[in-house]
């Protein structure tokens, strides 16, 4: 039988739909009976969403500018290959 500790070990696979159907079923059975694990799965899922919301965007503008400079410098001497079509 699946114990809470086992479930905690495969919780991400459950969230991402990466379990086999048999494993998935035993997780679902466990969750029906165990409030603590339901809270755990809910919170782990919330943490994942939080991570997603937090890391989208926020590029370091100073770093981007340094890349812009390098690219602009390289583009100055860059020539499209011969024979390219207009």
């Amino acid at each position: 039988m699946l114990m809470c500790r086992d479930l905690a070990g495969i919780a991400s696979d459950y969230i991402d739909g990466e379990l086999t159907s048999r494993q998935n079923l035993s997780v679902k059975m466990h969750l029906m009976m165990c409030k603590d694990c339901r809270t755990f799965i809910g919170n782990l899922r919330a943490s994942t969403d939080l991570m997603k919301a937090h890391s989208s965007g926020r590029p370091d503008e100073e770093f981007m500018r340094r890349i812009d400079e390098r690219v602009a410098e390289a583009l100055k001497t860059w020539k499209p290959e011969d024979g390219d079509k207009e």
């Binding site: 114990m3 809470c4 809270t39 919330a46 890391s55 981007m64 890349i67 812009d68």
Partner: protein, 206 residues
């Protein structure tokens, strides 16, 4: 194979890059560099990683001429970064050290009794939505702190998978890890964030 006309914005960006259009480069640098940096950080320290990403953009100017669009632009760029990092590691003889042996975070593992039941179950339900939680500056700062404290391997896996929304298969390719090891990296990283949010909700402290 004939060329098909794609009306999607990415293919017009690719055309502009091929023509060497500086503003297309500016746009692409902003769009793709954060992900490229996440890939590089899997292999290298912060300053070497930034250096590699800069170098990659310069090589992209020529390399993009041969880009046929079989993979997406993002995946293609991430592969260039990964290859460059691997070469750099090879020359400096450094290995990426990663522990894939255990999928449970030790701090979480301690919260179960010998029978495998919760000894110290999750105390609170995180009920607010991610967007509402992110409006909390203190929490956002705390998340930054904890993300940067994650082992690089976990952080890069998390970034590529969650923030840059790569498919598992692509992440495995780019980072050179097996599918099962990727699962371990992701799960370990998420548990750390879970533990952090829990502490923050309970104590208000990071």
């Amino acid at each position: 194979m004939g060329t098909t006309a794609h009306p999607d914005p990415q293919s017009s960006l690719i055309d502009d890059l091929k023509r060497g259009d500086p503003s297309a480069y500016k746009e692409a640098v902003r769009e793709y560099s954060p992900g490229m940096l996440a890939v590089a950080r899997f292999y290298l320290d912060h300053s070497s990683a930034e250096e590699v990403v800069q170098d990659c953009w310069v090589t992209v100017i020529d390399a993009i001429q041969k880009f046929e669009g079989r993979s997406g632009l993002k995946t293609w760029l991430h592969r260039i970064v990964a290859n460059r990092c691997k070469n750099k590691l090879r020359t400096s003889n450094r290995e990426v050290a990663t522990d894939f042996s255990e999928s449970l975070d030790p701090e979480l593992a301690d919260r179960f009794n010998a029978k495998g039941r919760w000894d110290l179950p999750p105390r609170l339900k995180f009920h607010e939505s991610a967007d509402t939680l992110m409006e909390n500056d203190a929490l956002s700062g705390c998340l930054d702190k904890h993300l940067s404290a994650l082992p690089e391997t976990q952080r890069s896996a998390l970034m590529l998978y969650e923030a840059h929304q790569h498919k598992s298969e692509d992440v495995c390719n780019i980072l050179d890890v097996s599918a099962s090891n990727l699962r371990v990296l992701l799960h370990r990283a998420r548990q750390k964030i879970f533990l952090m949010v829990e502490t923050f909700q309970e104590t208000g402290e990071c």
